[in-house]
Amino acid sequence: MTETQPQTDIDLDPVTFEVLRSSFTNLVDRMAQQIRRTCYSFVIYNRDFSNCLNDAEGNTVMQGSKDIAVHVGTLHYTCKETLEYFEGDINPGDVYIVNDPYLGGTHINDVRIMRPVFYEGELIAVTQSNGHWADVGGPAPGSFNIEANDHFAEGMRIPPLKIWDAGEFRDDVANLLTTNMRLSEDRMGDLRAQTEATRIAEERLLELVEKYGVDTVMTAFDESKDYVERIMREQLSDLPDGTWHTRDYIDADPNKEEGFVTIDVEMTIDGDEVHYDLSGSDEYVGNFLNSTFGTSFSAVVSGTKMFFPDVPLNSGLYRVVSADLPEGTVVNAPEPVPVTGSVAGAYEKVMNAIFELWSEVLPERAMACAFNLEYLLAGGQDQRPGRDGQEFAWYDWMAGGWGGRDGKDGSNATAPVFGAGLAVQSLEGQERDTPLVTSEHSIVTDSAGPGEFRGGCGLRKGGRMLACENSVMSYCSDRARSITWGINGGLPGIPHGVTLTRDGESQDMGTVFSNVPIDEGDEFVRPSSGGGGFGDPLERDPEAVLEDVKDDYVSVERAERDYGVVIEEIDPDVCAYEIDPEATDEQRAFIRANREDWLREDPDAITERYHEGELDKLDLIRRYGVILDWSSGELLERTTAEFRELLRERAASEWTPVE
């Protein structure tokens, strides 16, 4: 589309550029405001959305400043694919809809609405709004079907489609789509809210074109991308060249024997560019935790961006950051492999691995692993008085702990790194809409990975079902085995997973299950992990441990076992506790002398001691590096060997050797 190329002789002075650049930001942020105020999906309302301005080739000129991380680096792919698909038939008044994960998208819930913007008959831009719809059809409420073997069993996949054709609303098409989704009217509402957001952006863009001239605005499009490219190149060229390597892990592949699924990331800084090679990653797995190219590229960009918080987001960045994501691996699953749970699977593994790599390059921004994204879905018929069996969908996600940092504890109870703006929902609101009563929403004592700077604390949320019928529960998470790890000597958090109690019997359900029948009186609870620790926990200031004990972030017992700090309770009424300095020195010396050996002790013997009640779960994980199948209590030998390796690399190798 050379005809829309800006003239090179346009003089874009610094003032006009800065004004236009901030106008583009204002324009996309205004779209965000609009859809948040008018959407129907609570998932969108709680900020699982993004908006952008694309140029006529589909490149991203500006993305919203409060957009969710997981969409970063994917919107331009969708736009390019759509423009290509309709090439020759793109007209003023068109509006397109796409959710195809294999066309640069993320998962089918992310529905993208695009509007081509014309000026004097020529395509000059596309405005795009992407929102996570609460349901896009398929067998499971919320369209998360863990049993799917391919996308056909997940929900409605929408290739590029005209929903408005040259100004005509295609009622039949919209109807076909929404009829196949739960709460069709709400979906129509989301469609309208997003469409209106793209229209408002078009209006504002045309105002800018009227005022500054089309050539100036087009030049500013290019200059905006160049500007981001320049900033990023500038910052990278100040850093040493080199190659860094690490691995992170998904718990397991259900089609294989126990053992981690590896995501292998090699990062190379070469002059003013950074390249990621993920070709050492395992092949795709037998459930929906795989990700597509788009999602993985998003993880690469978002992971990197966390170390360059001031760099704006647009296609200029993608000229400097590149990635090898070979097809057939868990980070680039081909069609029709299911990918709906990618965000809890491959996505955050790539992101956290990248955090770790950058933590070495930019230690002043170092951060250990954050808790894993998790969401619990319960759906069925509400049989409370007056509800008459009306459909309900309880779709709940939690905050958790972020990793410990260099000089600073991790942040407690924070939204997932997948989207730090994703708000947790009010339980009072949930209790009105669904037949369940929340029993607890609280910080979990000892959930934070110990470290000189501990991780942030994780949470626990539980509930009890009220009168309901034909109801099922599904869960999507990870890191019950590949537990949220520390760096620079820091230790892990706690395992994820749901515990379901019915008729007095409790069962560990693990991190991935779907369509488990539930009924009135059933109780469930699940934790989110704290962040991994940063630095050797034996180096933590005992006073800091004491403060944590006063707030019950850390128990007296774990203060001793994890930190070697012996604390005596004086009077909890007035938060009076005291450190025993001699006992602390002794305990720290004892741990220091033995901890490397503990990681080599016979796992069977350790498992035995756990079953006898001599050791608890946290001893297993943090002291001995032993991982069990938490529901059966069976030792996972291969996983344990891999987890111990992880602990040796990230923790033990960083501990000061015993003299």
């Binding site: 309208r192 500007y227 109870a413 939204a415 209790e431």
Partner: protein, 674 residues
């Protein structure tokens, strides 16, 4: 009748005194006394020619509450919650403000975890008691708080907004066991759904009570000693005043007091000049506050926070604050782009031209280079300032790296600063469906009148209004308000159902409570005015709109109709086929207070106020122009100035760019047509 309007700001306490008989206006500015805010007020009043004992009306705005929250200079407080939920206050909604910076955290909770204690009880969404209150656990918690010496206690139990019984009982037990303690319950402070928002508001309110009560008591005593026997009124964030008794309980309501007073003054001045739509633009040294008045009503928000993550759910004027002030720093980022702000040199060290050690180029320095402000006349010449350092830092930090001439660089700084201000104006106007062409811009604060004309041009706002005393606008706002209370409650129902009677009953109850409060404040029944709003949304939507209505309600049909129209206006679409639901009710009760009217000034020609000329640079002209400089105080009514022109006064400078005209009206207000 002599009236005093006071604004206790962070740096200065401003006083405006108005004598209704003579029409005389007196203005004082005196340093604030944060250790004891009442002292600054007394100092300001004492400086004036009016005796405190001769005052008949005293109304003030204050940043005491805001500053205590910002600085976290709050008492240690305890929080009582339902078992299993003591961390709601810390979990918040989990979001970060700074999404991409892992080292920027949300502020700590106001109550430490150790001081959040639980009691066994549970109420369900419908208000049924699922688990009775275990009074023993309450006594235990109270015993612990007393032992810790914590005497300010917030209570926020799950679903207390539908049934406050348990909270009430907790309050009674505290009163019986620990009478010295102050208790604040969530169902009384904010009977609305959403546990975090309600808890946050309750906690902040509890924490501010001791802070605000102490200074108000002191202020009242000091005024009383000096013979003032009227009410000591205080501006609340919602734009009315309350008596000290009410404020001492609903302390969080004055957290946004100062900027609200500014917004009210803008509305008033615009109204005096015949505009019912106005954008208030208050720019000082570090930031700019932008508010909006539409058809005479100031835009409000019901969600507001001093620190991200901890909302105060009381109605507040909707004010957009951006880091654009006279002290905002100009810099070049890694991409080579020129930026202005959000970091600021503030008042200390301030711009380079202040000669207080500031070594970074600021917006004020750019204005000095452009000849817009005369450093010799800062604060009426009270300050030692000069142009040379301004030139030096702009040349060094901006002009040289960008390869620009000094003047070009200064002009670029000014233009980018204006672009930032425009984005704030867009957020309150175009982003909400208001067309700036229908508005006037009311410019005040020390720096507002300097940039207003350019902001107005950029935004297609046709006229700019500059009040006679731009530096004390917030104090003026305090003279212009009614005694006001508001109540809100969650009320969820299908808007198509026959719920007129239910709403009527709920409104009647709320009104009765407000009338009682107004009555306690000595407002005569005939002076009470009630406004009613119904919060509505399309069923399935997450946000609601407030639809105004009057009692008795006609029918749900007309109310639904009004909702569709309002949705259309705010969000550019509506759909009458969609079901609508009622979400909440809101009543505002006003005790109307008589307002001052300002005296007319003598008329006069512009020439008599002309003091000198100097070279000033305007981007539109592309060159320095010999520009007339006027003395504001000498400008008479009816005077007309053609741009370019500069009008100087003690605390501000008005820039009239080329091709703009300025007219002085009967009260001395300047109206620019840009």
């Amino acid at each position: 009748m002599r009236r005093a309007g006071i604004d206790i700001g962070g740096t200065f306490t401003d006083v405006i005194l108005f004598d209704e008989e003579t029409g005389d206006v007196e203005i004082e500015k005196t340093p604030s006394t944060p250790a004891n805010p009442a002292d600054g007020v007394i100092n300001g009043l004492t400086k004036s020619d009016t005796e405190i004992g001769d005052l008949e009306f005293f109304s003030h705005g204050s940043t005491v509450g805001t500053n205590a929250l910002i600085e976290r200079e709050l008492p240690r407080i305890g929080l009582i919650t339902t078992e299993g939920f003591r961390d709601v206050h810390e979990i918040r909604d989990g979001t970060k403000e700074d999404l991409w910076d892992a080292y920027e955290d949300v502020a700590d909770p106001y109550v430490q975890r150790r001081d959040r204690l639980e009691v066994a009880e549970r109420i369900d969404y419908a208000g049924n008691v699922v688990e009775p209150l275990d009074e023993e656990t309450v006594r235990e918690v109270v015993r612990i708080f007393e032992k810790r010496g914590i005497d300010t206690i917030a209570v926020s139990l799950i679903n207390a907004y539908v049934n406050g019984e348990h909270e009430q009982r907790v309050e009674e037990i505290v009163a019986a066991e620990y009478p010295a303690a102050f208790v604040c319950t969530s169902h009384e402070i904010l009977p609305e759904m959403f546990e975090h928002e309600r808890t946050s508001t309750t906690v902040i309110n509890a924490a501010l009570v001791p802070v605000v009560r102490d200074y108000l008591t002191d202020l009242e005593a000091k005024l009383d000693e000096r013979g003032y026997d009227g009410d000591v009124l205080a501006m609340h964030s919602g734009g009315g005043v309350m008596t000290t008794e009410a404020i001492a309980y609903y302390a969080a309501r004055i957290a946004n007091s100062g900027p609200t007073a500014g917004a009210i003054a803008s509305q008033y001045i615009a109204d005096q000049c015949g505009f019912e739509n106005a954008i208030g633009f208050d720019m000082g040294g570090t930031s700019a506050d932008v508010s909006l008045t539409h058809q005479g009503d100031i835009e409000m928000t019901d969600e507001w926070a001093v620190e991200y993550g901890y909302p105060i759910m009381f109605p507040s004027t909707d004010i957009e604050t951006i880091g654009a002030g006279g002290g905002s720093i100009a810099w070049i980022d890694d991409g080579g782009s020129l930026r202005v702000g959000p970091n600021s040199q503030g008042a200390d060290p301030g711009p380079a031209c202040y000669l207080r050690g500031g070594d970074k180029p600021t917006t004020t320095d750019a204005n000095v280079v452009l000849g817009w402000v005369d450093p010799d006349r800062f604060l009426g010449g009270d300050m030692n300032a000069t142009a040379e350092p301004a030139r030096k830092v702009i040349q060094r930090d901006i002009a040289d790296p960008l390869g620009l001439e000094l003047t070009e660089a200064a002009s670029a700084i000014e233009q980018i600063a204006v672009a930032n201000m425009c984005n704030a104006v867009r957020l309150v106007s175009t982003s909400k469906g208001f067309d700036p062409r229908d508005f006037a811009l009311v410019a005040f604060g020390g720096a507002g009148p300097l940039h207003a004309a350019h902001v107005a041009r950029e935004m297609n706002v046709p006229q700019v209004i500059i009040p006679p005393y731009p530096g004390i606008n917030s104090a003026l706002g305090c003279l212009l308000v009614d005694v006001e209370h508001d109540l809100s409650q969650t009320f969820i129902a299908d808007a198509a159902a026959d719920i007129v009677d239910d709403i009527e009953t709920a409104f009647a109850d709320m009104e009765a409570e407000i009338r009682e409060r107004l009555d306690e404040e000595g407002i005569d029944e005939s002076e009470m005015q009630m406004d009613h709003e119904i919060k509505m949304r399309y069923t399935g939507q997450w946000r609601s709109l407030e639809v105004g209505c009057s009692r008795p309600l006609e029918s749900m049909e007309t109310i639904r109709e009004r909702f569709h129209r309002q949705h259309e206006q705010t969000y550019a679409y509506s759909d009458e086929g969609q079901p609508v639901e009622v979400y909440g009710l809101h009543v505002t009760g006003r005790g109307v207070v008589e307002k001052p009217s300002f005296p007319e000034i003598d008329s006069g020609k512009a020439d008599t106020a002309r003091r000198t000329t100097r070279d000033a640079y305007f981007e539109a002209a592309g060159e320095f122009i010999d520009t007339a400089v006027y003395e504001r105080a000498s400008l008479g009514a009816g005077a007309t100035l053609e741009g370019p022109a500069i009008v100087e006064q003690m605390d501000s400078t008005v820039v009239v760019p080329p091709n703009a005209t300025a007219e002085v009206d009967e009260t001395g207000t300047i109206i620019l047509t840009v």
